[in-house]
Symmetry: C2
Subunit: 342 residues, 2 copies
């Protein structure tokens, strides 16, 4: 039997634990996996692009557990009443290939994206960072705010989105949780006094939602919306203002903000900062840029975390996903057993 967490159970589990507690726990799993980065199988995700959007498979393995995520990205979905991003994923035992855990990952992807951002910012942002600006107030915004509160103590938020209703939704969701939100009149106003800038918009174009003169010395830039060939958010010049950190360089070259730069543009894989192999922030005035596209190992961490956390609880159920004949060479016997006698 395979354990399964559906959307309802994922939501009820997160609510029962508290979103910030879940994010904090997930950061622990992420740090554990990023610190043993070299032990994982890694390939850029396998994308199927269409005029509507993209569908991707993101596999990885630590040679004990195999995991993958199915995820789509369809920027025009919200206008038609659909989620931009939906996802599900699974874990399997490498020794026999059997799927052990299946989970919705629409909510889980939102959690792991925010937890990854906060894990990285805790290493790269100035220790005295207190204010975060959010450009983009879609599905990811609240999860970012709560992750940065949990991991860095950020309580002051400014937000800008071209959709005023989305900003109101964001403020309405996070202010009751003790965060203070300023709704800005422009991207420039939002980032004015920010120590951390999170960009998270969904347009599938080479957009410029942030220009270089808005990025002040000492800022940590958490750029998560540019994650697809032809989909970027930052003016290319911004990438030359400081040091650029990525998850997995071969994938980010294809999908990240650095697709705007030459192929030898220098970047640091974040796991090297975590292990101490490479420097992170080296001065208070340095600009640090996390060019995040989302990598399979973070999904693997998220799946592992939920699998472990819901074990033995009512938040997972068994599903019958793998045929299990008594004689493993007699798969047909399963069908024969249910066939009418002739």
């Amino acid at each position: 039997m395979t354990r399964f967490v559906d959307v309802g159970n994922m939501i009820r589990w997160v609510a029962s634990q508290g979103t910030e507690n879940v994010l904090a726990g997930m950061i622990g799993y992420l740090e554990n996996d990023f610190a043993r980065w070299e032990t994982f199988d890694k390939i850029p995700r396998i994308a199927s692009h269409t005029p509507f959007g993209v569908i991707e498979l993101m596999p990885t393995s630590d040679h004990e557990t195999y995991g993958f995520k199915y995820v789509n990205g369809h920027p025009s979905n919200p206008a038609r009443g659909f989620q931009t991003v939906t996802a599900f994923g699974m874990l399997a035992d490498v020794h026999n290939g059997y799927p052990t855990f299946l989970s919705e990952m629409t909510v889980l992807t939102a959690l792991r994206t925010a937890a990854t951002s906060a894990m990285v910012a805790r290493k790269l942002a100035r220790p005295d960072a207190r204010r975060m600006a959010l450009i983009g107030a879609g599905s990811q915004a609240e999860f970012q705010a709560l992750a940065f509160h949990a991991a860095l103590g950020i309580t002051e938020l400014s937000v800008w989105d071209t959709d005023p209703a989305a900003m109101e939704k964001f403020a309405g969701n996070v202010e009751p949780l003790g965060l203070h939100v300023t709704i800005a009149a422009s991207a420039a106003a939002a980032v004015q006094d920010a120590d951390i800038i999170t960009t998270c918009t969904a347009d599938k174009t080479k957009a410029t939602i942030l220009t270089a003169e808005l990025v002040k010395p000492g800022v940590h830039l958490n750029a998560i919306g540019g994650d697809c060939p032809g989909k970027t958010e930052l003016a290319a010049e911004i990438l030359t203002l400081g040091d650029v950190f990525v998850e997995y360089e071969p994938q980010t070259r294809i999908e990240g903000e650095i697709q705007q730069m030459p192929a030898d543009f220098p970047v640091t894989e974040f796991w090297q900062v975590l292990t101490g192999a490479r420097p992170g922030r080296t001065s208070p005035s340095q600009v640090t840029i996390f060019d995040s596209v989302g990598f399979a190992i973070a999904d693997f961490s998220g799946l592992r975390y939920v699998r472990d956390a819901v074990a033995g609880t009512e938040f997972a159920v068994d599903i019958d996903l793998v045929a299990n004949p008594e004689d493993p060479k007699n798969l047909f016997g399963l069908v024969a057993a249910f066939s009418p006698v002739h």
Copy 2:
């Protein structure tokens, strides 16, 4: 909601329809999809190899529907009480990326592999073929026998396997269905009078279960067990006895029997025979060889067929795999709605 067919429902559905009827229906879907081969996105499957076996993802898309299969291949599994191959798969709408159909595919893979073999043999075997030899009597054997009965009227079977219990199991399963089985004393004896030879063994090695002198003029060779780098079944010389047909050349070069041959060894993609673009069998004495490894489009056909066949029946259930907030930008609202008031 996503429709889901678990193992129990798949087995009960196949039994209720009759395995041969299901195989015949599936051949129709396969021919439909192979005939429009050029319209599909195609890539070699994405494999994660370990000393234990392989785990693969097999995606494809016809730009209206996207599908993929998760499948493992672990030759040492049966000795430990596990299936060599387990699988599941899904279909999604390309326009919004939403998963619409999830299914077990351990049984379905067995069906689609056999249906593909029979579809190909109906075009390539001699029209007067009456006897099939099966080398390998594992999980796939009964499905092959029934598919060749359904599509080509084959009733005379000879079988050879190094495991006598597996041959007895095979005979015990298919003789009650009206097929006549001769248990052979060797591979050579099994293929003696065969018009069609199906090789389907599971060793993950460069095995030689068939040598060239055993392949007589006019035979159709349905070689399905060599499907992994380093895993072949045929003496290389056999591949020079006739014409070799494959599913998708770039994948078969990596995984098929032709991995033993130079990179420019000539092959024909079967869909071209189906559409008439390339010749199939051209004489009664020609040897035809289907070097089958299993391709994503056949899984896509199998999933489409089951999805359509179980629509509106009790053989599928709804599962809650995709979060569906009322406001698509308010994913967090789902969690908030279940959170205790502070």
